[in-house]
């Protein structure tokens, strides 16, 4: 009882066959084989599964796949252009925000969704966004540092454009 689903992933239109009970993360990880998006809990608490859909960060673990029909999705694999990292990736990799790295793709995508739409996001907005993500390694301070550097880099980039 599979059904066809068409959406855009990282700029490429894809049509895939999905089982009705599949969540979006199952399609991303198991059908499209994009394993950068992680699953860390059973009920959308940890934030590791965040991807950007139609410009907004969403939890892919509790969104029925069918609801992504026609959507424009970006996963962590869609950020770097060849060898060139997205500024958010550069900032997060250099601030000490990465230890085990399991929460990292979700945090990178959260910031991508937030800062691409609103490069001038307030510290409160950043904090509200990052509060959706659990990290057991860093004590969060280096994530905050990385997010602030990322914001500056994104702002610079937008100015140049």
């Amino acid at each position: 009882m599979t059904e066809k689903l068409t959406f855009k992933v990282n700029g490429v239109e894809r049509t895939v066959e999905v089982e009705p009970e599949m969540m979006l993360i199952d399609v991303i990880r198991d059908v499209l084989n994009l394993t950068g998006t992680k699953l860390g809990c059973d009920n959308s608490t940890c934030g590791t599964c965040v991807v950007v859909m139609n410009g907004k960060p969403i939890k892919s673990c509790n969104l029925p796949a069918a609801k992504a029909a026609g959507a424009d999705l970006v996963t962590v694999e869609g950020l770097a252009k060849g060898m060139e990292l997205h500024p958010i990736q550069t900032a997060i990799s250099e601030s000490g925000a990465v230890q085990c790295g399991f929460c990292t793709p979700g945090i990178v995508m959260e910031l991508y969704g937030l800062l691409e739409a609103n490069p001038e996001a307030s510290e409160q907005e950043m904090s509200n966004a990052l509060n959706k993500h659990l990290c057991r390694c860093t004590g969060y301070e280096p994530i905050r540092d990385g997010a602030l550097i990322a914001q500056k880099m994104v702002q610079e980039q937008k100015k140049i454009k």
């Binding site: 590791t48 990799s93 085990c100």
Partner: protein, 774 residues
Amino acid sequence: MKYKYVGQSYIRPDAISKVTGKAIYLDDIRLPDMLHAAILRPQYAHALILNVDTDEAEKCVGVVKVVTGAGCKFRYGDNIKDLQPMAVTKVRYIGDPVAAVIADTPAHARAALSKIKVDYEPLPVYIDARDAMQPGAALIHEDMSDYWRLPTLKETPGTNIANTYHLHKGRGEEGFDEADVVIEQEFNFPLGSCAAIETHGSIIWFKEDRTIEAWSTSICPFIIREDLAHSYGMPIADVRVHIPDLGGCFGYKSDITTEQTIAWVASFVPGRPVKWVATREEDFTSTLLAHGIRTRMKIGAKKDGTLVALKSTIYHTAGAYADTAVNLTMASTHNSTGPYEFKHCDLTGYTVYTNTPAVGAYRGYGHQESQIATERMMDLLARKLGMDSLELRKKNFLSEGKVNAVGEIMWKHHGNLLECANRVEKMVFSKAKPREDDQYVYGRSLVTVMKSPKGAPFSTKGCYMKMNLDGSVSINMGGAEVGQGMRTVIRQVAAEALKIAPERIRVYTEIDTQYSPYEWQTIGSMFTTQGGRAIVRAADKLIAGLKKTAAQVLKTDEDYLEYEGDYIVLRNDPSIRVATKDLARGYITEDGITIGDLAQSVSDARLPRYSNPDKNGQGSIGVSYTMGAQAVELRIEKKTGKILVDHFYSVFDVGQVINPLQIRGSVLGGVTMAIGAALYEEVVFDKDGKITNPQLFKYHIPTYKEAVEQTIEFVETPDPIGPFGARGIGEHSVIGAAPAILNAVYDAIGADFYEIPLTPEKVKKALEARKESK
């Protein structure tokens, strides 16, 4: 001492693969023809299995096989062989594997679980060591005495006591007759979870060529290899274990955990790899839990504050299988002295079977569990003596010339705890404490802590080093990168030892027992110390080999040569030299004749003279110590009883900082975890042994908005064992938070608490009592 590469911040080599989503974790591995397993957990925490009916489940969509424990003849375990891969005659805790479904997809495997019918006969359930060790309690392991165990371990037949550890120093309990003041109190550090963001998982593949290939979320591939080989009667060389990137460990991915269960399941479908990844619920119910330690502590002191005698009794709720808890009990027991000298010690640790998940390592390995008692007792004793609690601590520090509980003499190089304490004291107490206001009441406290590793005397860390044709160096070791930043440390230590830039050193990215050098397991905050020593040794050997070839090339003696990184030069005339890279595969002379060996080396490093304890618990069983001071400033919201940590301070003597960015990150994270344990975290059981909060939205771990401002500094008294004077720091930062917070709450509202988590409800009650007494 100033080093060129050690002491600088470098970005970790795995940062890029992690921000791009390209790092491969266990669940990201896809193998040809792979099957998926789901495991049935029991409805009872202690029950006999009367019958398992798998017929309906076998018929479900996608199901390949349903497996039970029937016919399993072997037990396993490194300390006590009390584990079985799947329950055979009874279940002993709520996460015990009863049966497994193997199917084409994880969803099909899970869907069929509910079709397995099991008949049970329930037995009494014990969720606390104190209850389980009562005379007449139902036995959780009836045949305990038949199990193989290490010769140093001793069970109490006819009880649930899996081991009793005892340490006797000086005159033991008799020593209390020298005390002017004696205080006694009981403390509790309840069961918790490491709760790494990546859950446990394994892939096991029994191959037709009679080898086993395995992947696991583990930091002990060599133990898995030995255990599987032993259980299935194969040569160790025929089992190959891979460790991919790990999404955090914090302890519970050490020792063998779920691998034997998945191997048992996979053994029924030879030829096909079987993957299992724990749900978050299973990660709580069916892997290792943490802590579960009650400490009853009695301290005797002279009027002037000199500590004379310590009696600690540790009641360890070890869980249904004690193999992973027994060493933890010991570590908690012999380190219950904290960083203080007691002339007389009588320390006992009971490892007790209970109907809860097995307890294993958690960052800090038993130290915070008993030092919550020690550090609270120091404050209680100071109050009784009418003394300043920091003065009391300073008077009794395990400083140079003192003898610790296990009989080791302390030397200057064990660290300058006084300097750590003085620095934190200045940071916190040189300013006035805020006065109570309408909303808040304020408290602060300083504690001092110590940690040694609890490993095995044979535990070593291997290093393979090879120089490539361009002079770059490849390093292969058996240590597991769990996020601690070991790969960066390897690079920096090797760069310093080899006098070449870190960028020219490439560190291995996965462990594969087929290629990796042996390491027992990456535990005890010992990778920098032992692994770093192994790197220095490998570098020395590599350089010696290079010099041997260079001596032939330059027609001189090896001891006239100096290694300078890029060149080997004649000491008395450095213009005579050979480029190091030209020696990498031996040296090719003008006519093509090649001389000398490949530039490669092998080494390993244990802790020096690390031993088992003798019958009195004495021996060289710490060897390496890191000490430090920590303090908290907090406020209590009067309306709710909520504790808000305003600032946390840590100063540790780490010998030598290798990477300032990483070491700060390590302490930041450790303190955050420990504040979580002190304020929020407890795995809660109902009376039937079911866990009521096995999800991250119920088991609250600290969030972004709860992160605490921290001041972190380091004292550097060089260590003679570690590389370039460095010593371990991975776990130490978790020890002080709980006692510091409880002491600061007393400072704020005059209420004594003896257990954690200290929830707002408990504090609110104390606030109300305070109001009444005012």
